[in-house]
């Protein structure tokens, strides 16, 4: 019964989405304020019914209702409850429902937190989001119904959730990622609403900014979790593979980064209007494209869901309608005349422009690398593949180009600045950064030029920020007062840029300094790696809820002091019989120790073992967390709320006059 309620709720949600997509938009067109005022209520109704549907599916999973096909093929009675719940989105149909749930969450959030927005704008924005929801809900109902039953022959038990997905990181990774992906639909909806209204002004940018920041923050966290998961779960210490599915989440992130910066220029200076709108469309289009690539089967990837050309066709048509439609609208409605606002070559505007160029090139690089095999194939030129070397070759110089400019950014002034002033401001940071770049890598022999470069660039970035902060604090009467005067927007920028610096150092240091040993070890053996002695004590048999495992006990000492006891496992999952490596990790701010079990060697109890020493690997994820915290902080800026009220009152006047 419960699955039928879920199915029915999904159909009602579809109807609500249809009404939301049509009626308020019609109202906005005809100036009918009754029709427009329906939008917030419909948005909340949409959330309620998609929510009911999602809870019904979750209930079916938690209660082991194997008469539901999806439950039978992705969950079993031995699975711990938390993974039964995570299994809801560990498959195509369920994750699509999660997509719809999160989209309706964002829609309802816009409805609830934008009461200050002119009704005309709000109704258009919600209509656009309703139209997107309509597309996804019909996708779910037509091609991928999660509630399909296996009746009358319901199996006694289900098959296993992919053991790779049975992991705490994977419980929250997809929801976070989708929060980011789908969150860009808000920026998209605002852009479309602005194009429809024909008013691309600073207020539009101001409304979009907090939403874009929050979506970007979630996406950063989602990508970070995915990378962290790959690191500890896949068992060979890698953290990024340039896999098409990873690229699918990375492209909206890159475009979103450009969007955040371009929105700043549009809001503060009324610049780059058409460009920013295009970026908003582009960012969300990449989210949709990512969905298409992951689910259509046009590209092969290990963590693609089961694919089906009919589904691919549906998403492609949807993609064509949404992206093609919005780009057509853009072509007709975007302001064709470049804005009359001028700025000098040496100014914050041109630095933001450089940021946009770098991130756009980065996005297109990833897009091209991901699609290249497909393009060549479609042209009938054969089959090719693009590997990590291509991406690395492009990304390293791009980032090396970006960071020097990034150090200038916070110090720079709008409109017109002077190179002499920059020189005065940043001479000391530049010298100190060079010194850091030369000396800090000395801590780790042998001296590594890449690390030196990374340290140079990041300390330039950090010291530039510090210089600017100091300047601001100094101009206040007391440091406490100066701190209090910093806006959340500024603090957010500070934190996010610091995070980026940490990320750069972490990535380069890990790639350059990591040491790994693959060796045969018998119980009783000891091995020294990077000053740590790994002592292999024994192998014991352990039993988990739905697996049995060989667990190695390894004690790590340094200079005779016990540092860590590590227990990597080799698991065999009972339902599917698949074998998984569970790595043991001793995490630290400055280094990770990582042990993974290979295969047993011979019959004497020896095992192939993989020992890793990974310096600063945490900095990468810490950096991503800082970036997300920064974006959240910036979104808290009171400015967004206060100025919305101002716009609100003038919007009312326009409406009454109409």
């Amino acid at each position: 019964m419960i699955p039928e309620i879920g199915h029915f709720a999904l159909i009602i949600a579809l109807c609500l989405a249809l009404i939301l997509a049509l009626v308020p938009a019609w109202g906005a067109w005809r100036g009918n304020s009754v029709a427009m005022a329906l939008a917030p209520g419909l948005a909340i109704g949409l959330l309620v019914f998609v929510g009911i549907s999602f809870s019904c599916l979750s209930t079916a999973f938690l209660q082991d209702d194997f008469s539901v096909k999806l439950v039978a093929s992705h969950s079993n009675s031995l699975l711990p409850s938390i993974y039964k719940f995570a299994a809801v989105w560990g498959n195509h149909e369920g994750s699509l429902l999660l997509w719809a749930l999160i989209l309706s969450l964002w829609t309802a959030a816009v409805a609830l937190f934008s009461s200050q927005l002119p009704l005309l704008v709000l109704s258009r924005v919600l209509s656009v989001m309703g139209a997107i929801a309509l597309g996804f809900l019909s996708f779910s109902l037509i091609t991928s119904n999660p509630f399909t039953r296996l009746l009358p022959a319901a199996p006694a038990d289900g098959s296993d959730l992919n053991p790779l997905l049975q992991d705490p990181g994977l419980i929250i990774h997809p929801p976070l990622l989708y929060m980011g992906y789908v969150g860009f639909s808000v920026a998209f909806a605002f852009a479309i609403a602005a194009l429809l209204g024909g008013r691309l002004d600073a207020s539009w940018a101001r409304w979009s900014r907090p939403w874009t920041n929050i979506a970007w923050a979630f996406l950063s966290l989602g990508i970070m979790l995915g990378s962290w998961w790959a690191y500890y779960e896949l068992g060979w210490g890698g953290w990024w593979f340039w896999d098409p599915v990873e690229n699918a989440s990375f492209m909206p992130w890159l475009a979103g980064t450009a969007l955040i910066h371009s929105l700043a220029a549009t809001e503060k200076r009324g610049l780059f209007k058409s460009w920013t709108v295009l970026l908003a469309i582009f960012t969300f289009s990449l989210s949709l494209l990512g969905t298409f690539l992951v689910r259509s089967g046009v590209l092969t990837s290990v963590h693609a869901f089961a694919t089906d050309p009919a589904r691919g066709m549906f998403i492609l048509v949807f993609l064509a309608v949404v992206v093609g439609g919005s780009l057509t609208l853009y072509a007709f409605r975007a302001p064709a005349v470049s804005s009359r606002v001028s700025f000098g070559w040496v100014s914050r505007e041109s630095l933001l422009l450089c940021n946009n160029v770098v991130f756009l090139v980065a996005t297109l690089t990833v897009l091209f690398g991901t699609l290249f095999p497909l393009i060549v194939d479609a042209l009938g030129l054969g089959k090719v593949s693009v590997g990590p070397p291509y991406f690395n070759a492009v990304f390293v110089p791009l980032m090396a180009l970006l960071v020097p400019l990034m150090g200038l950014g916070p110090v720079s002034r709008w409109k017109r600045d002077a190179v002499e002033r920059w020189r005065g401001e940043l001479a000391i940071p530049a010298v100190v950064a060079v010194l850091c770049g030369i000396t800090l890598p000395l801590l780790h022999a042998p001296y590594n030029m890449w690390v030196a470069l990374a340290v140079l660039l990041s300390s330039w970035l950090v010291l530039g920020l510090a210089r600017d902060l100091w300047q601001r604090l100094r101009s206040a009467s007391s440091p406490g007062q100066g701190l209090a005067r910093l806006t959340p927007g500024y603090c957010g920028m500070l934190i996010a840029h610091l995070g980026f610096a940490a990320c750069v150092v972490g990535i380069v240091a890990t790639s350059q300094y990591s040491v790994e040993h693959d060796l045969k070890m018998s119980p009783g053996d000891s091995r020294v790696l990077a000053g740590y002695e790994f002592h292999f004590v024994e192998v014991v048999q352990v039993r988990g809820p739905n697996f049995v495992a060989d667990e190695a006990r390894i004690e790590v000492t340094r200079d005779g002091v016990l540092v860590a006891s590590m227990s990597p496992q080799k698991r065999r999952y009972l339902a599917s019989g698949s074998v998984m490596t569970e790595a043991a990790i001793d995490a630290g701010l400055f280094r990770d120790l990582y042990v993974a079990m290979g295969e047993p060697v011979g019959s004497s109890g020896a095992w192939a073992m993989r020992l890793h020493f990974k310096p600063l690997v945490r900095w990468m994820w810490l950096g991503a967390i800082l970036m997300a915290v920064g974006a959240f902080t910036a979104a808290l800026d009171k400015r967004y709320r206060r100025q919305r009220e101002v716009v609100h009152s003038s919007g009312e006047v326009v409406l009454r006059g109409a």
């Binding site: 298409f292 050309p309 393009i375 090719v384 290979g598």
Partner: protein
């Protein structure tokens, strides 16, 4: 109309992309007729992994066999690996083509995960892969006793692929060869 026309550019680019994606839908990335089918492997003379000396096309002839293209940077190869070991245990001869890889990494991989291969061709620069038209790793070629390519499978070889596609062809070739 000049400046307005410029704004149509994104739309046009997207239309081109959509056409490509549409064509892509009709293509199966795992199904690739190879120009090599019915022809012998291209000549090569490359170092062997894990042993001194060079190997050439003549070394893979003599019996029907699988030629598996793999690399340590390829995530799917890791998925495929345990099944290749099963096949090797059943006595199916498998040759490896270690594609665009570092020898050291490849050797570590084999030590850690086990080695199902008779030997491995170290195609460090991907030259042989280029001649063969390798799309990406993993890929598996079915060769007959004379070293002629009979079938090519792109993607992971698992139980289903083996039992439905490769095994029937393999058995047929073995029969013709007089082997069991």
């Amino acid at each position: 109309m000049g400046p307005r026309l410029k704004l149509f550019l994104p739309l046009i680019l997207f239309a081109l992309l959509a056409i490509t994606l549409f064509r892509g839908l009709g293509l199966d990335p795992n199904k690739m007729p190879s120009a090599l089918i019915g022809r012998p492997l291209p000549e090569f003379n490359l170092p062997a992994l894990n042993q001194t000396g060079m190997v050439s096309a003549a070394d893979v002839t003599g019996q029907p066999a699988l030629l598996n293209v793999w690399a340590t940077w390829c995530v799917s190869c890791r998925v495929e690996h345990p099944y290749l070991k099963q096949l090797a245990q059943q006595g199916i001869p498998i040759f490896g083509l270690n594609y665009k890889d570092e020898d050291r990494a490849a050797q570590r991989w084999l030590e850690e995960l086990g080695d199902p291969y008779r030997f491995n061709i170290a195609d460090r620069e991907g030259t042989l892969g280029l001649d063969m038209g390798v799309y990406g790793a993993p890929e598996t070629y079915l060769l007959d006793a004379a070293g002629v390519v009979r079938y090519r499978h792109a993607g992971v070889v698992d139980e289903k692929v083996w039992q439905t596609i490769l095994e029937p062809l393999y058995l047929e070739l073995s029969k013709g060869n007089g082997a069991p």
